[in-house]
Every structure is written in C-alpha cells, then in structure tokens.
Amino acid sequence: MNSLQIALRVLKVDRRTRTSAILTAVGVAVATGLVLLLATLPFATQHREQRALWQGDHFYSRDDGPAKLMFAESKDYFDGKQIIRVDVALAPGATTAGVQLPAGVPQLPGPGETVVSPALGRLLQGNSAAQLGDRFGKPVGALGDDALRFPEQLVALTGHTPDAMPESASPVAAFPSGKASADPLLMLLSWVGIIVLLVPSLVLVASSARLTAARRERRLAALRLAGATPGQVTNMVAAETTLSAGIGALLGLLLSPALRGLASFVPWAGGTWQAADFALPVGLTVFVVVAIPVLVVLAGVLGLRRVLKNPLFATGGHTKKPLRWWRLLALPAAGLFFLYAVTTASDSGGITMVMAGLFLLVGSAAIVGPWVTSAVGGTFVRIWRRPSSLLAGRRLRDDPKSAYRASAGIVLAVFAGSMALTLLPTFESMAGGGRSFQDSVLYVDTDTQHAGKIVDQANGSLQKYGQSEKAVAVGEVYLVQGEGRERSGQRALVMTCADAVKLTRFGLPPESCTGGPAVFSDSALDLASYKIAADWEGPAVAPKSGTRVETVHYPDEDLSRTLVIDPAAVPAGVTPERVTVVAPTTDANREIVRTALAGPAAGEEIGSRDQYLFNQQTELGDLRRVTVIGLIAAGILAGCSAAVATAGSVMDRRRTFGALMAAGTPVRVLSRALRMEAALPALVATIGAGIVGVLVGVGLYSMVDPRGIVVSPWLLAPVVLGVGVALLGASVCTPALKRVQAEPLAEE
C-alpha cells in the first residue's frame, strides 16, 4: 500500500479526518481564490487604462509624422460626476480617412458634433441642453465599451474647427496610443491585501489541519514504531495534505470567476469594472494554483518534526517551555526603530526605513503576541472567580502560541485596518481648501487673448438661459520689490472690491470698498516700496498714486500670500498675461453656468471646489471602501478560523467534556467556559493590534502634518470586528459540545 492509498483509506474510514480535509480544502480554496483575485488587480487597472489611453494627452507623440489632428483633453463635471472631455479637430489639409480611430470609437465627430459614452448619453437625454447638452454639440454616435475606462464612464469626444480648439490643444499625428501602466496605489494595496487576507486564510488552513493533528500524530507515531522511516511518514503526510490542498486550489480556481464578478461591482477611481478586466496571465495563474498547495504541504511536513524526531512523543507527552519575558522587548524595539524612521524620514527621505519599521512592527506581533496571551492567561488563572475564567486562563497560559496563532490573521487585518482608519478621516479633514474663490464659484484659467471672448460669450449664454449671474475676468499681477534675482513680492488678483466681496474667500467687508482704488492685504503693506508687474520677471511699474492699502484679516491662512488689487489701481502698461474667468453660481444654476462657460472655453478645464475635491474624495472613498471590504473579509476568515479552532479544541478534549457532562455538568456551563476561552485571545489580540495600528497611524501621519489626528468613530471598528470574530469563534461551542454529548461516552 503506497502513501496515497493510505491517505485515501484514512479519509474513507475516519469522519474527523474527512471533516478536516474538507475544511483544509475550503481554506486553500479561499486563499487561492483571494490571491488569484488580488493578483489580477494591477492587470485590471492596466486593462482599464489601456482602453482609456486615447482619452489622455500623455501618450501621443509629435514625431509620428505630420499632424492630422488638433487634440485637447480636459475634465468637466456635472452634478458631482466627472466627464472626460476630448476635443478634436482635423488639422488643415487632413482628412477623416487619414485618422486611425481608437477601438470603440465609431467615428470622428465633425465640428459641432459629439460622440458620447452611453452613460453620458443617458444624462444628456435626462437633462436640458442648458444644463449639459450645450457643452458638447450634437450627439452623433456612441462610444463602445472598448473606448471606456469603466462601463459607466462619462466621456465626450467633441469635434471642432481648428480655430475653435482651446488654447491648450496640441497638433498630433494620431490619437494617443502605447502601453498603459497599472495603478501604483492599487498595486501596493493588492500586495497589502494579499498579505492581510492570505494570513487569515492560511490560519484557517492550519486550524483545519489541527482538527485531527493529535489523532494523526498518534497514527504516525504508531507507524514509526511499526518501522516506517521518516521519509515514508513524510510521504504519507504529503500525500494526505496534497490531496486536500490540491482539491482546494482547484476549487479556488473555479471560485475565482465568481470573486472577479463580485469585484467588478466595487468602484475604484470613479467607476466599476468590466468583468474581462480581471484577466490574469496563464503562467501566473498556474504559479498561484501550484504555489499555495505546495506551501500548505510544506507547512504540513514541517509540522511533523516532532514525530520524525521521536516516535514516542505522542504517548510519552512533552512539556512546553515557558515563554521568556524578553519577547516583550520586540515591540518597543520595533516601535523605537519605527519612531526613529518616522522622525528622520523627512530629513533623509528614508521612506524605506519607515517601511522597514512597519514590517518590524508587524513581525514583532508574532513574538509579543504569544507572551501577552500567556500573561493574560496567567492573570485569569490568578483572579478567576468562575470555572470558565479558570479554564480559559489555563488554556491560554498552557499553549499561548497556538491560542495566539488562531488570532494571528485578525491581528494583521486589524493592525492594517486601524492604521488606515486612523489616517483616512485625518486625510479627509485635510481635503478642501484650494483657490482664492468661494466654493460656489466656477472659474476658467486662460490668457488675455481668450478671456474677453469667453466672458462675452458666457454672459450672452447666461442671458439666453435667463440667469442673472455674470462672468468676470480676473487678471493676475505681481506686487514686487527689487529687481532680477533680488526680486521678491506677492501675487495679486485684479478685481473690483465689489467682485472680491462676492466671489472670493478673502472675507473683504463691503464697507472697505468705499474710498477709492485700493490694494487689499492680510498684513500691513508699505505700497510705496512696491511696483506692479504683469509677470514675475517682467518690467514693473509703480502703482497709481492715491491707491490706498486696506488691511483685512483673511479667514484662511492659506490665502495670506495673495492680494487683491482694484483694476483702477493697476498702472497703464501693465496688462495681466494670465486671466481667470470667474462666475458665481447657486446650487440651482451651477450646471447651467458651467454650460455657459464650457461653450466659449471648450476644452479648458472649468475649475470649482467640487473639481478640486473630486480626486481627493474619490481616492479617499476608494481607500475607505477597500479597507472596510478587506477588514470584513479578514474578519470572516479569522472568525471561521476561530470557529474551527474552537471546534478542534472541543474535539481534542471530547472524552473529558463527555465525562463532565455525563457527571451532570450542564452543556451551558461548559459552553460558557469554552466561549470565554475562544473569545478572549481574539478580543485581546484585536484590541492590542488596534491600539498599535492607531499609534502607527499617528506616527505615519506626523510625517505629513504635525497637527494631531482626527478622532473618528471608525477607530472603534476593529474592536467591533474583534467582538464579531470572537462571537463567531465562540458560536460553535454549544453545537460542538452537544455533538460530544450525543456520542457514546467511551468512543475515541
């Protein structure tokens, strides 16, 4: 009988071995499925970006031959949603036939025409032309999926004549093409995810294997005593584990399309995914499907070293060495290293040191965790009042390593989650701010040449749409001192005091507008020592005489280096080169005003606080989402591990518990003791990991901003998760005990 035949026979006759094998296979399947999914993420973002490559202006080459197109890319916004806008015009002399269209783009729109994505098409149908449609032109076609970053992406490919193209347009030989790269943030997160989710998956595998560990070790010891060589025993275990791990890996492979399907609904960078995005190269798929079971088999074989060393151990028993106090030093040592790395990172640019510190901290948990588990157990043993505390305390004290191991997965997840949840609300509080204009204002940066036309046309449109708001041009000049390299000074917005009161965040009081032309500043200013220049290095002219200086306390420190200067105070000969066209809006007419600006400023980005915040908010939303999903997934896996470990611990002591129940001990009393035993390590580990995670989050945040963190209720999430995991783990106590109770007392 060879090793495989023995393994199959054991599986056939022993129900517990079968249960363990099934659970091991499930653990391996989950691990394989998760790794296969997480490994696809970089490829998925690459697929997305590849489809959207034509939408960006980073990937075209001017050296590909004579210019056939004028091309400009910008971002528009509607009702908080981003629209990618691509403006094109045929270059003089070029024909449509000479332009190769990107995949999914059905035609090149002519002047006044637009080809839109299906989602934008639906928006155009559901809103008035003044709200949205007038920004683009007449829709003449729909973009296919191959031309979209994600299915619900809002994209408009709008045609123009060359002279109607925005100032930022470039002459190009073809639409942008090339090879897109993966999203680096998602790549980093996928690695973090692999570690954070793989560890609890493997703990689940280990817990499942432990269900029969004692029985298997006895069997193998008996085989060794009967003359089996260490090699033969190793082969038997390898065959047994390969069987369940191999089936598990194949199940994981079958499971992965379902996981990918689910993942395609999770938004990232503004939208969901196409199912085909999550394609993994065959070589990598094979590697994952082979590597995970190999690791599991390796772990199983390594776990045999006691039987291999001494076949009698199983009958003779063995004593466990107490854990040494020095283990406790690992955490402060890693903490000090991390602190040093964080405090010196800004000077030395040592982000590698910070990452190393982070890894050391995570690693130190594996050294400190068992000691803390043992210490908690010891405390319970000293102070117990109920047998449940005594049993739980003794169990933790006796085998802290395995008690901690069951919680290792959740420790890692909670650590990473707490760190992220500490940083996210704090980063969120930093979001905002931005330009000098009020949040409700829309603005377009342009030059003097285009500004007049934009203002006139926008105001014409606003009048046509029945709006009372008016767009104004705000120039930019500099108040400077000294010349050449010695020149210093401040930027000033050229606008009337009344407009500044209405449109800016400077907080100018209306009463400051009386008394003639003025320069408004946050601090006292000796105007006589300043000159005014159109650009930083250009010629400077003294301000008009009679210009007064009005000192106003700005409400926001970020604005302190910007001044406001009345147009009447700007001397002749100084014509601002950079101009911003600014228009006030209300919540009701914001999109109409945007449309009015978008027509004349086609292809130029219309700025607003919404736009300024869009990327920040999208990124923070993505991070928050993946953190919560990761924590929940890790929590469920860790909960399953805890449940399997608890069931294993009941099964290990089935005879003792059976005897206690036979002697009249109620199931609920034993169940209470076991629930505490199962829940305690998870709770302690979770809270500990949560605290360290928050502290590390604070440390990392201090690198970016010396102000304190924002305390958010999200910080309690890990504790809630820990309680959930503990409850899940403990939930199997009563059914497991009832099963033991139902079995004949003497069975083993």
């Binding site: 047998p387 005594l390 003794r394 003792t656 206690l660 036979a662 009249g664 001990t665 109620p666 003497a746």
Partner: protein, 233 residues
C-alpha cells in the same frame, strides 16, 4: 401506588425494574431487575458487549432506558427530562471513569473542585474541600500537580476525590482500574471503597477484571442483556 415501587426507609438506594435498552434490533439490556443497597459495593461483570456499561449508563441516567423503571431512594427517576437528570447526576451520583478523564489544564485540586465550582460554590470553599479529599486519599502535597504530572493510580485517586466531593448517594465506576497495573489497581479500588464507605455511598463498578470483581462484596454477572448470576461474598 405501584406495588413494585420500593419504599425508601431502609430499602435499596437505587433500583431498576425491567430495564430494556435497544440499539436498533440489538438488545443491550433485555429486562433487568437490580437493587443496590446503601453502602453496597457491587461489581458488574460480563464479556464485551454483554450490556454491563449500558446498565451502568441507564442506572446513572446518562442513557434513557427504552423500557423499565429506575428508583433513587424510592423516587422514580427514569421519566425525568435531561435537565433534571443532569442535576441528579451532579448532586446524587459520582462518577469514576477509566483513565480518570481529568481536565488536563487544571491542577489536581482544581479538578476535584470543578464539580462544586460548576454547581456555583465559591472558589475558596471548593478548593479547600478539594484539598481535604486529596489529603484523605493520600495525595497531600500533590494538589498543584497537573494530571500529566501524576501517575495513573494518582490520577484515578484524583478522579475518586472528584466523584466524592459532593457526597453522592451512589458512585458509578466504569473500568476504574482498566489502565492500571494490578497492584495500583488494587490500591485504587481500596481507596475508592474506603472513601465510599466513609461517606455512606454505594459503589457500582463495571469491570473486566475477574480478580477485582472477586474482591468486591457483591458481583452481578451480565450476559446477553440479562443477569446471569448474582453472587454475594
């Protein structure tokens, strides 16, 4: 009143009448009548599969009989629900199993105290009582040892102490010496019977060990689910 109902004045402490236990079509007990008197020490013997362990489990209320009646101190107990039977086992009966079946993580004194603790007694009282019983059974100085640090005989004496600590009316012992050598087995049985006599408890021992059975005051031999012989020493 049922004329078969034994009266508890000075009658048997535990009685079984017409006890039947089936496993499928197989009869483990085929209608057994048995009386156990106070302070009795009865050995139940018989070949493997004869029904002796089933009889012990049915009398103790661990298994429910398919037919027949059981009386404890004159009160019928076979019709009680699992909750009441558990309470009865916890308060009126004591159990000694093969290999002790002690909780490996707990010390000897904690193992002895465990039933009292689970019944709600305070830590100090339960541990003190446990220590006294260990001392009476010759285990003074070994109270803090774990089961793994005790010999087989010592572990069985801890189990005996655990069975006696709440002063039960009947002690059930299932192969208590099965894992011990002859001498240690004899010592253990002496300890059990001595302690039981001291507390007034009756002892029912299921055993394969002919020598042990012969040393007991009464022996009941079971075969094919029926009592084959009753011998009194």
């Amino acid at each position: 009143m049922d004329p078969n109902t034994p009266q508890w004045t000075n009658g048997p402490v535990l009685s079984g009448r017409g006890l039947v236990k089936r496993y499928g079509a197989q009869y483990a007990l085929a209608g057994i009548d048995i009386d156990i008197q106070p302070k009795d020490a009865v050995a139940i013997v018989g070949p493997s599969g004869s029904g002796k362990t089933s009889l012990l489990h049915v009398l103790a209320g661990i298994l429910r009989a398919d037919d027949g009646q059981i009386f404890l101190a004159g009160q019928r107990i076979d019709h009680l629900g699992e909750k009441k039977r558990s309470e009865l086992r916890r308060t009126e009966f004591g159990f000694v199993f093969q290999s002790g079946m002690l909780v490996a993580e707990l010390s000897a004194e904690e193992n002895v105290a465990l039933p009292s603790l689970l019944a709600g007694l305070g830590r100090k009282e339960a541990i003190d009582a446990g220590r006294q019983w260990l001392s009476r059974l010759g285990l003074a100085g070994k109270e803090r040892r774990r089961p793994g640090e005790l010999s087989g005989g010592e572990a069985q004496r801890v189990a005996i102490a655990r069975a006696l600590t709440h002063r039960p009316k009947v002690i059930f012992a299932d192969e208590p010496t099965g894992a011990l050598d002859t001498r240690t087995g004899r010592d253990t049985m002496d300890a059990l019977l001595g302690a039981a006599h001291e507390t007034g408890a009756a002892v029912i021992v299921v055993t394969h060990d002919r020598e042990l059975a012969e040393s007991m005051p009464k022996t009941v031999a079971i075969r094919d689910g029926l009592i084959a012989t009753r011998l009194a020493a």
